[in-house]
C-alpha cells in the first residue's frame, strides 16, 4: 500500500516538474517580450542580456502610439478578426448542420473535401486568391481579407461542429420538428444551445487564426488604412536594423486580445476541446 502511494507521489512529482518546465518554456518568451519593451535601446543592445530592465521606460509604448498608426492597425485587426469569427460561426454552423443531418448526394465527398481544403497550404493559395480578389476589387479591403480568411476558418469550423451536431440525440430534434419547429428553428432552439462549448472553440479558433494571420494580410493589403497588426510589425525593421523596443511593445499589445478572449471563454473552450476528444 505504502509502495503504491510512493509511486503515485513520484509520478505526481514528475508530472509537476514537467508542467513547471512547460510553463517556463511558454512564459519566458512572453516575459522577454515585455521586459524588452520596457528597456532603452542602449540596454537592449548592451553586452549583457538583462532579465529585469535597469531603468524601465514606457518610451517604446509612447513612440508606438505617437509616431506609428498602431491604433489603426489594432482597429483593422479587430474588424477583420471579429468579422471572420461571426461569418465562420454562421457558415460553419449551417454547413455542419446540413452535413450532419440532411441527406443529399455528395454529402460524404463534401465532408471529406472540407478536410482537404483545410490542408492546402496558404503558400499555394495566395497567388490564385490574390487574382480572385483583384477581379472582385477586394484587394486592400477589410471585406477581401475576411472573405479570404473564411477559406481556412469555415472548413475547420464546419468539420468540428459536424462532430458535435452528430452527438446531439436525433430524438430531441425530431421532437422539436413534431412540435412544429422548422429545420432552422430546431437548429437554433435545440442543437445550438447544446453545442455552446463547441461554438466557443470554433469562435476562439477563428478569432485567433485571423488575428495572427500574416501571409494573406501581407500580400492582399497595401494601404495603411487596412493594414493589420501582424503586417504592421514588419515596419519596425528598416533595412538591416531592427527597432526592437517598439516592436516588442507592439507584439505585447497585439498578443493581449486573443489572451483576453481566451480568459473569458476559458471554461467553455476547455470543455469543448475535451468533448471533441471523444465525439469528433
Amino acid at each position: 500500500m505504502r509502495s503504491v502511494s510512493r509511486t503515485r507521489r513520484s509520478l505526481q512529482w514528475v508530472g509537476n516538474t514537467l508542467l513547471a518546465l512547460m510553463l517556463v518554456w511558454t512564459l519566458v518568451p512572453f516575459y522577454w517580450m515585455i521586459a524588452t519593451s520596457l528597456k532603452k535601446d542602449r540596454e537592449i543592445y548592451g553586452f549583457e542580456a538583462t532579465l529585469i530592465p535597469h531603468q524601465p521606460t514606457l518610451a517604446n509604448y509612447a513612440r508606438l502610439f505617437a509616431k506609428t498608426p498602431f491604433i489603426l492597425y489594432l482597429r483593422n485587426s479587430t474588424i477583420i478578426a471579429v468579422g471572420t469569427t461571426i461569418a465562420s460561426l454562421v457558415f460553419g454552423t449551417l454547413g455542419a448542420y446540413a452535413l450532419a443531418r440532411l441527406r443529399f448526394p455528395g454529402r460524404k465527398v463534401i465532408a471529406r473535401g472540407l478536410v482537404f481544403t483545410y490542408l492546402v497550404p496558404p503558400a499555394l493559395l495566395f497567388i490564385p486568391l490574390f487574382a480572385v480578389m483583384s477581379t472582385l476589387r477586394l484587394v486592400d479591403t477589410h471585406q477581401g481579407l475576411i472573405l479570404t480568411y473564411l477559406s481556412f476558418s469555415v472548413p475547420f469550423c464546419t468539420w468540428l461542429l459536424m462532430g458535435y451536431f452528430r452527438s446531439v440525440p436525433l430524438e430531441l430534434e425530431e421532437a422539436a420538428l413534431v412540435d412544429g419547429c422548422t429545420r432552422l428553428g430546431s437548429l437554433v432552439r435545440v442543437i445550438l444551445p447544446m453545442s455552446l462549448p463547441a461554438l466557443a472553440v470554433v469562435a476562439f479558433f477563428a478569432f485567433t487564426q485571423s488575428w495572427n494571420e500574416f501571409l494573406y494580410a501581407n500580400v492582399f493589403v497595401n494601404s495603411v488604412e487596412v493594414r493589420t497588426v501582424t503586417t504592421g510589425l514588419t515596419l519596425f525593421i528598416v533595412e538591416d536594423v531592427f527597432f526592437w523596443g517598439p516592436m516588442m511593445a507592439a507584439s505585447f499589445l497585439s498578443a493581449l486580445p486573443p489572451l483576453v478572449i481566451y480568459l473569458i471563454f476559458q471554461r467553455w473552450v476547455v470543455k469543448g476541446l475535451t468533448l471533441g476528444a471523444v465525439k469528433g
Binding site: 483583384s134 515596419l235 533595412e239
Partner: protein
Amino acid sequence: MRMTRRHVLKQAGLAAAVTTTSPWWLVRTSHAQRAKKLVFWHVPNFTPLADDLQKQQVYEFAKQAGLKDSDVEYDVVANEQAQAKLAAAIEAGNPPDVMRLYESNVQFYAAGGHLLDVHDLVEKMRKEPKGIFESAMTSVVYKGRAMGVPLAVNPWPVHARLDLLDQAKVEYPKTWDEFVETSKKIQSPPRLFAFGMCLGLVEDTTDNVMNLLWCYGGKMVEADNKTVVMSSPENVAGVKVIEAMFKTHKIIPPGAISWDNSGNNKAYQSRQAAFVMNPSSIYAYLDGNDKDLQKATGLFPVPAGPRGTVNQIDTWAYGAFKKTPYPDLAKGLLDYFMQPANYDKIIQSTGGRWVPVYKRLFDSPFWREKPAFKHFIKMAETGVPVSYAGSPTPAAGEVLNTHLVPKMIQRVLVENWEPARALDECHKRIVEIYARYAKG
C-alpha cells in the same frame, strides 16, 4: 436523372477547362479592372522626414499631371516583405507602377521582361552638369538599355570607433596588415572585439568576404560575366587572411559565424565591435538613436591589400513595371523624382543613408562639411558591385541568395577545410549557376 458515363466525362471535361483557364482569365481581368491611375510602392527609410517628402512628391507630381488624389495609390511596403509581395503581385498580373528596387533586382526583373525601358530618362540624367556616377550604370543596364533609374550609389565604408583609436593612440589602418595590428591594440574581448565581420549564412557575409578578397586581387567572375575565377590563388590568399583573423589573431567575435544581416549592425550599435563593414545604415541609425556613438564614428575606405583598396557599392534604383496601363505617368513620376532639386531634398533628408547619384550634388555643404562623408565621393566614383568584376546579373543574384560564399568561408572557419579546397567547391557551384543562366 440517370448519370451516364458520357455525362460524367462531359462534366469532368468542363470542370477541367474552367480550372485551367480561370487563373489566366482572372489575371487578365484583374489587370484590366485597376481603379487607380498611379500606384507607387514605398519602402520606408530610416528617417520619417524622407518618407514624408517622398509621399509629398508623389502627390505633387500627380497634381501636376492632372490627377486627383483619389487617382493615386501610395502604399508603404515593409522592406523585409517587399520582394515576396512584389513576386506575388507580378504573378497575379498586378504589380505597382513604380517601386524602389535593390541592386540585382533590376537585372532580375528586366530579364523576366517586367520592367519598362527607361533609357531616355537615364540619358537625361547623364546630361546634367557633371553627370552621374557611372559606377551606378552596371546595375541598371540590361542588354545595353537602362531598365531602372539609379537612385543612390551606396558605399560600404568601414565604420570605425574613433574614440578607441584615440585611446590607443593609433590612426585608422591603411592596410589589412595594419588593421590586424591595430585591432589587437584596441580590442578587449569578450566585451569588445575589434572586427565585426559578418560570417553567418547571409548576404552581408558575401559582401564582407568578397570586399576583402578584392583587395588581395581576387574576384568572383570576370567582366565577361562568364568566366568564374573563384578558386584563384588571389582568393586563396584573401581567405587565409580571414582565417588568420578569426583563428589566430581572434579579432573577430566567434559568434559572428551565426550572425544574420543585422549581426554586424547590432555588434557596432552595442559597442561590442570597433570596426564593421556595412552601408551607412548604421550611421543613419545612430543619427536618430545614439548621437554619442555617432560622434565617435568615422566612415573610412576599406584597408588596402596587395592590390590596393577596393570598395563595394550597391546601387538602388527605381523600376517602372511594364504592366502599368499608364506608362507615361509612371515614367513622368520617375522624371519628377530625379529632377535634381526634388531629388536633393530626399537625399539630404536620409541623413547620409542614400548617396546621390548626381555628382554635382556632392558640392553641397551637406556632403562637404561632415568629416564622416569625406571619402564617400571617391568610393561612389570607384566602387564596385558585389558581383565584381561581373555585373549584378541574375546569376550573380542567385550566387548571393544561395549563400555560396558564406558556406565556403564557414567550411574554412568551422569545418577547418583548407581554403583552396573550400574555394574549389564554391567555384564549381558558381560555374554551374552561371552556365545555367548562359543557356537561358
